[in-house]
């Protein structure tokens, strides 16, 4: 019989081995899943995990997909460590794109290098403001931020639809619910010639470095970790919960909003109703897969971007349904949470009594 024995201290080895194990288990289950769908399983795994790495264009696409995932996941990781569950990054992403896009459209035809920073500011502020709604409701009424932030995703998406169908609609766009294409001053510079990889990737890298310093060298990171591990000790230490809730939700909202701005002024180049494409939700998986650690999130973001791109290739090349890729990503989180138990427990064989 198997028995779980509590460890005296969390195992550092297991802490980093379990995400890798989860990836392996997901691949194995993926093989079974694809075989059941009647596809050649090994070919599917090769298309999803290997092919994107061999093709130069796909490699740059990793940066396009990975940047928003990493940026959002970094923001979420602070709250998740403190036990503040922002599930609505997708909504903050949408509002960030909307506010930044509104700035771009307001200055349409105005040239200037100040425009992009202003849009970034507007995007971050928009995302943070949207996240302040669940923060305030939790602080004031003890409302569950999971539900509130999640429901606000749908509000944000409808708001985006309403705006691009109304005030922000392209006047020359034959009444299609889309904004104008952003002009050059409102479009992100490309960092690799001939690709779609934009400066957002650098921003994501910067966020990783800053988050590392904040988390491990700064009192704010200490406060976040302390609240997550021992809320009573945190109050005893003199940290205030309300301030932390506002800070964590504000930070994750700002980074999600910034990612939204990057998406609108980068690969998409305009505001469209289909702009939010699930980055905000996938980033939750990235945050956990990366162990809520900035460097881990960077790696996890790369893995998840790979499944995005490989998944698209597989859809085209092998006729795999889009849902199969969602299932695949979901399995990753499922296995990770499942084998997480090994961090704090070890398995011991016991003879049946």
């Amino acid at each position: 019989m198997l028995e779980l024995v509590a460890r005296k201290e969390a195992s550092r080895f297991m802490l980093w081995l379990t995400p890798a194990l989860a990836v392996v288990l997901t691949m194995l289950s993926g093989l079974a899943l694809f075989a059941l769908l009647g596809k050649d399983p090994f070919e599917a795994v090769r298309v999803i995990f290997v092919e994107p790495l061999l093709d130069p264009f796909s490699r740059t696409e990793l940066l396009v997909k990975g940047a928003p995932l990493v940026l959002i996941a970094i923001g979420l990781s602070f709250g998740f460590r403190a036990g503040i569950w922002n599930i609505g990054a997708e909504g903050q992403f949408t509002i960030g794109a909307l506010t930044a896009g509104a700035v771009a459209l307001a200055f349409w035809n105005v040239e200037g290098i100040w425009l992009l920073p202003l849009m970034a500011l507007a995007g971050a502020a928009g995302g943070a403001a949207w996240a302040m709604i669940p923060a305030w409701l939790r602080i004031r009424f003890n409302a569950n931020e999971i539900l509130v932030s999640l429901m606000l995703v749908y509000v944000a998406e409808l708001l985006l639809s309403a705006m691009v169908g109304g005030p922000l609609r392209d006047p020359d766009g034959f009444n299609f619910p889309e904004s104008r294409m952003f002009h050059d001053s409102a479009t992100l510079p490309i960092i690799i010639e001939g690709s779609r990889a934009h400066v957002g990737a650098l921003a994501a890298l910067g966020a990783v470095v800053i988050a590392y310093v904040l988390l491990h060298r700064h009192l704010f990171g200490f406060e976040v970790r302390l609240f997550g591990q021992a809320p009573r000790a945190a109050r005893f230490a003199g940290f205030r919960e309300a301030r932390l809730v506002a800070a964590c939700l504000g930070l994750s909202g700002a980074l999600a909003g910034l990612a939204g701005m990057f998406e609108a002024s980068g690969p998409v180049g305009q505001l469209v109703p289909a702009l939010p494409s699930g980055y905000g939700f996938t980033a939750i998986i990235v945050a956990f897969l990366g162990r809520l650690h900035p460097v881990g999130i960077l790696l996890a973001g790369a893995v998840m971007a790979l499944t995005y791109i490989g998944g698209e290739t597989a859809q085209m090349a092998m006729n795999l349904p889009a849902a199969a890729i969602n299932v695949f990503q979901g399995m990753l989180l499922f296995f990770l949470l499942g084998i997480d138990v090994l961090v704090n427990y070890r398995i011991r064989l016991r003879r049946a009594l």
Binding site: E9, Q229, A234, F236, G238
Partner: protein, 512 residues
């Protein structure tokens, strides 16, 4: 002795039971017997070993030595299910009920083999009416009062037709009229031949209800008696020990007032909490004020109010004359008020953080472990190492998690962390609870020398011997009231017994 019932056969017998936890002997050579239909009291202060003892009887813990017998046959339950099957029921002090479920559903969850819903409803009605415990099986637990919730636990135990019912401090959560109803039920049960093991430290109710008592002190049986033939005072003396340690002679010259509390009234925020009522106290430089009292009489609330975790009126608490009642913990620490809470893991220290990170919790300001928001890791490690060396904390290194330390070592670390910051006022709650003798001596010595150096100290403890040893003044907290502090040299056991029995207010009024 009334250990045997009329037919001469004890229903339950414990012989030389022993249970050892790391660092503490919780039960040592405990023997007693309960006759059929007897209401037997288990009396003792908190930490005397009552809970450990009943947990062994109910199969939650296994004894390290000795044996138990039920109806003369050897009895060694491996789990509560076996204890229930053998006819032993238990009602815990804190209920394990699901608020979103109905009464009947909750009852079914705690039974070995629950009957079908309709049959169970009928059984619940039947039992609750038979014993005067009105209860509607269809109500949701969330809507019920504390007294009604306790009835669920009792009915759940009674449905299994127990021969021995263990009640763990049942009246601590009840109003006086609810308690009266409960006593009626227990008497009916006893008349039907059910034995009851009744745990409490409320002397009057034990005298009213029980026909035999076993008194525990420090894990050992310190007396047996028929409580009906004793007075509350004689019971108290058995409970707290007749001979108190003589106070250590100190050349105690109190200085200026360091901390003063004036008419501090604080309604309880928690459902099981205690309301602090018009507390007054003054701590002067050199004072060590011992606060005695049974746990759950307002100690936690008092510590939270002093630490700043609960805010009060600014003028209710003054530090060196300045009102600090409205300040948070860190601001109070900066002004020189340090607190070492009772709960080591999760309150005084973060379990999964290293010892050096745990210094940042309270010493980041006074010991300069952070500057402009950035952590000074080397300084924190140095400070942690100083605590480890000066207080003899046994650990493999300060990079290890707090929860890897034994209770006593972590306690030395927590107290050391506060003392090394040289506070003007130190509040220490249960500073030596669960700590071995050597470590306890280290901690007491450090507290004494802190006071000798001009600080004011308050020690909250349930260990009277300890308080007599280190305090200069003694006061008792009872039902949220604090008695007027008396120099320990002048105090008698009678006074303490009277105060702990709830006479704090009368005493305070008389002295005021």
């Amino acid at each position: 002795m009334s250990e045997r019932s009329a037919n001469g056969q004890a229903l339950f017998e414990a012989k030389s039971l022993r249970k050892v936890f790391p660092g503490v002997v919780a039960n040592d050579d405990v023997s007693f017997a309960v006759g059929a239909g007897e209401v037997h009291a288990l009396l003792g202060e908190n930490g005397a070993g009552k809970s450990t003892l009943v947990k062994m009887i109910y199969g939650l813990l296994r004894p390290d030595g000795g044996e138990m017998r039920l109806r003369g046959a050897p009895y060694a339950p491996a789990r509560p299910g076996e204890a229930r099957a053998a006819g032993i029921g238990m009602v815990f002090q804190h209920f394990s009920l699901f608020e979103a479920l109905t009464v009947a559903e909750n009852v079914a969850l705690g039974m070995n083999d629950a009957p079908r819903a309709r049959a169970l409803d009928a059984r619940i009605r039947e039992v609750s009416e038979a014993y005067g415990l009105p209860l509607d099986p269809g109500r949701r637990v969330g809507e019920l009062s504390v007294g009604e919730r306790q009835r669920i636990e009792i009915v759940r135990a009674l449905l299994q037709a127990p021969r021995l019912l263990i009640m763990d401090e049942p009246t601590s959560v009840l109003t006086p009229s609810e308690a009266e109803t409960l006593f009626g039920t227990l008497r009916t049960l006893a008349e039907e031949g059910v034995s009851i093991l009744y745990i409490s430290h409320k002397l009057e109710e034990i005298r009213a209800l029980c026909s035999a008592a076993t008194i525990l002190r420090g894990g050992k049986v310190s007396g047996r008696c028929d409580p009906r033939a004793e007075t509350a005072r004689s019971l108290a003396e058995m409970m707290i020990g007749r001979a108190l340690a003589a106070p250590k002679a100190t050349d105690w010259k109190p200085g200026a007032a360091r901390l003063s509390v004036e008419k501090l009234t604080l309604p309880s925020a928690e459902p099981f909490g205690v309301t602090l009522r018009s507390l007054d106290l003054t701590l002067r430089a050199g004072d060590v004020l011992g606060v005695a009292g049974v746990a759950g009489n307002g100690q936690d609330e008092l510590v939270a109010a002093l630490s700043g975790e609960t805010r009060t009126r600014p003028e209710a608490i003054r530090l060196g004359g300045a009102p600090i009642g409205g300040l948070g913990p860190e601001a109070r620490r900066a002004l020189g008020l340090s607190v070492a809470p009772e709960e080591r893991l999760g309150h005084a220290a973060a379990p999964d953080m290293s010892l050096s990170e745990n210094t940042i919790l309270t010493a980041r300001g006074r010991a300069g472990l952070a500057s402009r928001g950035f952590l000074r890791k080397a300084a924190a490690e140095g400070f942690a190492n100083r605590i480890v060396t000066e207080f003899g904390v046994r650990t493999a290194g300060v990079s290890h998690a707090a929860r890897s330390l034994s209770g006593g070592n972590l306690q030395k670390f927590v107290v050391g962390r506060e003392i090394l910051q040289k506070p003007d006022v130190l509040i220490a709650a249960q500073p030596t609870w669960g700590v071995d003798a050597g470590a306890a001596e280290t901690i007491r010595g450090a507290i004494r020398s802190l006071a000798a150096g001009g600080a004011a100290v308050m020690v909250i403890s349930q260990d009277l011997d300890e308080l007599m040893e280190i305090s200069t003044l003694l006061s008792v907290i009872s039902e949220g009231r604090l008695s007027f502090p008396v120099p320990v040299a002048d105090i008698t056991v009678e006074q303490i017994a009277l105060l702990m029995g709830g006479g704090a207010r009368a005493e305070a009024d008389a002295d005021a």
